[in-house]
Symmetry: C2
Subunit: 342 residues, 2 copies
């Protein structure tokens, strides 16, 4: 039943086309299509049919001009490459897409100038709000208070506490990770993690330490900061085993580190998880499921962060402003690399 001649490449139908075809005025056509009550049912039907025949889609641009709200938001990422931005972005896109909001994507490539440029461009397009997604949890410069639209920061909080930021709770993440290891009966727990220049690394270590203290324990040695790489995981494990051969769990700052740790443990003849339990961080599927055994990991619920940011922005557009840093809980995803001591 293909239509012989669709509307095709000519100008899309406008409301006045519909009105003409239905034999009413544009005003009536508008009311009919928008469910306004001052239209006779029969007339409304005629208009709807006309609209369908012309496959009329109301021009959101015109609508936006009139309403003062465009139904668009800007999503400003600092680097798409980083794998943390993507899930957040997905969550936000998802939360908005369900409504009638469209998302402009802008990647600043970590450059402040480019970021400014994008902000200007987005404001020129009269977005109703902005979400700023960072690639690390360290605070970042605020876009300022003088913007004409609300802004929500996701993952990387703003350094201005008047702004609203949504971040994962990395201290809590450290706690629940250790809690899981304790629940598995482990007591000699080491922590190998990434670059100490990252707040995430320091906070996770802090949380881990606090959970251990609550149980009357301490970490085996100090937290071993280094790099977010497999290489560091391997190197640190070698040292760890030399110093503390009796360790029975290693909490790692990332899944990459964890893979390095597991490799060296196996090479040195330690069984995972029987002798040593290993936990990662980030719950990055490629790494967790490919490792032997599959890796227990902490998931930061980044999609959730994205959705929460979208939701917060939505309510802020509605007028309800919040501020401060709100942190969302993380969760432990249990796989084969951790198990109770038998």
């Amino acid at each position: 039943m293909a239509q012989a001649t669709g509307p095709s490449r000519s100008h899309p139908a406008t409301l006045s086309d519909v009105a003409r075809l239905a034999g009413v005025s544009v005003a009536t056509a508008s009311k009919a299509l928008n469910g306004r009550s001052q239209v006779r049912a029969e007339t409304r039907q005629r208009v709807i049919e006309a609209a369908e025949r012309l496959s009329f889609r109301p021009n959101q641009v015109a609508r936006g001009l009139l309403a003062g709200r465009t139904g668009t938001v800007g999503l400003l990422t600092s680097d798409l490459e980083g794998r943390f931005s993507i899930p957040i972005l997905m969550g936000a896109e998802d939360a908005f897409g369900a409504g009638e909001v469209a998302v402009f994507l802008c990647d600043a490539r970590g450059d402040a100038i480019r970021e400014q440029h994008h902000v200007r461009a987005l404001l020129g397009r009269r977005v109703d709000g902005l979400i700023v997604v960072g690639s690390r949890t360290d605070p970042r410069p605020s876009l300022g208070r003088e913007l004409p639209v609300p802004v929500v920061y996701a993952y990387a909080p703003s350094d201005d506490t008047e702004d609203l930021s949504i971040v994962p709770d990395n201290v809590g993440a450290g706690r629940i990770a250790v809690d899981h290891l304790l629940a598995c009966g482990r007591t000699r727990i080491a922590h190998i993690t990434g670059d100490p220049g990252y707040l995430a690394a320091r906070e996770r270590a802090e949380g881990a330490g606090a959970a251990l203290a609550d149980a009357g324990l301490t970490l085996v040695g100090r937290p071993r900061f280094g790099a977010w790489s497999e290489g560091w995981g391997r190197a640190a494990t070698a040292i760890l085993l030399d110093q503390h051969p009796d360790v029975d769990a290693v909490l790692c700052g990332s899944d990459q580190i964890a893979r390095g740790v597991i490799d060296v443990l196996r090479e040195r003849g330690h069984r995972v998880p029987e002798d040593v339990a290993v936990m990662g961080f980030d719950n990055w599927r490629v790494l967790t499921s490919a490792s032997r055994p599959p890796l227990t990991s902490v998931d930061m619920n980044l999609e959730q962060v994205g959705r929460a940011a979208a939701h917060a922005l939505f309510t802020a557009i509605g007028g309800a402003r919040r501020s401060g840093v709100e942190s969302l809980p993380c969760r432990v995803v249990i796989r084969g690399s951790t198990a109770p001591l038998s």
Copy 2:
């Protein structure tokens, strides 16, 4: 020098605000700011200063309504999760961002219904064009010929040859991969790759076979199709070594497979690259640089694909329509896992 009272949260300045402040009409103000020639230099200067004082940014929505072109495009991905979409998206965003085009991001989550919904929404916003990004290189259903704006398909080509699609040249990729191994003096080359349901897997195998044939050689055994996982890489390697212990190179269908291959090779006492050279596919940094040794891999130049798609769309909006499937060359990134036989 902070301004005491910025434009802040009040309505952004409009052109008529600027005109009033400069003491001219909106028409003149418009011409002055847009570089039209029919304005005295002195008047223009006055207008520009007024615009600056009010930090005036022209309303792109109004401009779009008038011009009939909005300076926006829709970027329709089928799944953001997949790692192939991201670089393409970055490339496209980059190519457009440099100009004055803004990108609407929509993720269909692999659902045709949702895709349709997004297309409708985007057309309602009067995007000037559409880029459809797929997650595998197998052809996908066309959006149809009746759309009012040009469409370019990236990575996953349309099944309608009247559409324009930009894809990586996977056959060529298989060729250059084998060429590199041949250049390293390898002659007993095996191919372990992923799911044969993927066109990419079949095409790469085809290209590899062709390059070998050109050299008067054949693969060691047949291409070993399986899954895109480390696990399959390990399993296939075990079988391969049993059947052909003299193999001197393994071309893998993905970096994940390659990591599995390398692991088993090492465990069985084969040195990489001295005894066996190993190549991956996709050039996925996390995997290539973390493996021991770092992995030589074929990069599909996906950012390039994204940029090319953006560029093609741009010219199509300008009126120059192309059609068919255009494939872009891949490149070999050489790291430690391949080296000349000494």
